[in-house]
């Protein structure tokens, strides 16, 4: 995992900017100072919450998971190592783990998930498409959901997605291909083939 993080390039995508000047110092201070961590987490909150929102579709669940992510990050921060990768990649990995656990647990319990949060201004046709997409997406394995979310929703490069997921770039490519195939099958199965 550490090797993958070292290999990460700086790319233009959501939440992937390299550490701002002074962020490294802020991270170090935040290891023991809740006030410093508060500034750090607020800097990245929208990135993480936005990722979770797009990944799982529901605003309230995303908000809960974002909180879980930052609390877990605070607890894990003493073990965080500077690798040259954006701090956000580390946060997004934690967020991904939270989202995967959430998806697995809901599946195990057979929970009926709420429809995706909709913007009032969204056209009915767009709402239907969004509904269909999330229904199909939620039927995929958490790993497939993650790779689709990182590459397609967050516009990440393969290398950056690999860093977040802690896998090799080639694994991301093959996983993404299988995920897209599975998504197409689900969309068709759910009646979206017409």
């Amino acid at each position: 995992m550490g090797d993958a993080l070292l290999a990460i390039p700086v790319v233009e995508a959501r939440g992937t900017a390299s550490a701002e000047p002074g962020e490294r110092a802020l991270i170090d201070q935040a290891r023991t100072d809740p006030g410093a961590y508060s500034r750090l987490y607020r800097r990245h909150y929208r990135t993480v919450a936005g990722y979770l929102y797009r990944r799982i579709g529901d605003e309230h669940a995303a908000e809960d998971l974002a909180s879980e992510t930052f609390i877990a990050a605070w607890q894990a921060l003493p073990r965080y190592r500077h690798t040259g990768a954006p701090f956000s990649a580390w946060l997004l990995r934690i967020a991904t783990n939270k989202a995967n656990a959430w998806a697995r647990s809901n599946r195990r319990r057979g929970a009926t998930l709420p429809p995706p949060t909709m913007d009032d201004a969204e056209a009915p046709a767009a709402r239907e498409e969004l509904d269909l997409l999330y229904l199909a997406l939620r039927a995929l394995s958490p790993d497939h959901q993650s790779v689709i979310a990182l590459v397609h929703f967050e516009s990440m490069s393969m290398a950056h997605a690999a860093a977040v997921l802690g896998v090799r770039e080639g694994t991301v490519k093959s996983r993404l291909s299988r995920a897209r195939d599975a998504l197409r099958v689900e969309v068709e199965r759910l009646g979206g083939g017409s």
Partner: protein, 199 residues
Amino acid sequence: MNQMDDRIERMLGGVAERAWPGPDHSDRVDAFLKEQAMSSGRNHTLSRTTIALIAAGVLGGGAVAAAVTHQVMSQRATIIADDGTRYDVELAPTPEGAGGTFVTDDGTVYGINMVENGEQRQMTVDIDSPKGGESTIIMEGASPRVLVAPGQKASVSVSEVKGVASAKFIDEDGVEHEVGPEAVEGWVQTEDAAEDSDD
């Protein structure tokens, strides 16, 4: 097939355009960090006689949204001291549920474990209080209270099966005091604690 690929591409692109509609911070994280800052301070003194411990969370039978957020919410607990100080504590996930140990400023140690098994939820709170005091454990409306004598250790267990709550109290000698659902709202106390509370 190409049409389908194009359509899926448009769908995915539509999601990518969805901006986070919520706030730019989390009240829960802010409260957590405030508690961390307080617990790391050395000057805060708590003159406690009553502590209520509340486990948040709603499970089953309710709205879908409540069930969805339950897993997250159930890993939190709130300790409220009699001076109004709130400790929003985060329970660490374990294979069985969630739990944690918390020490308030007066030295009282709370060991909290929440276990979910199908439709059954159980919360156990081990209390080790150097000064003694009254604690109220609240879960799903059930609120057994226990008086803990100075230096006494106690364990309070609240179970909920299919929405019906029951509680039992185990004193430091390991003796279980069974209480029925009708007693859950009332007082549960050991003889030692009762003697101390008569002061």
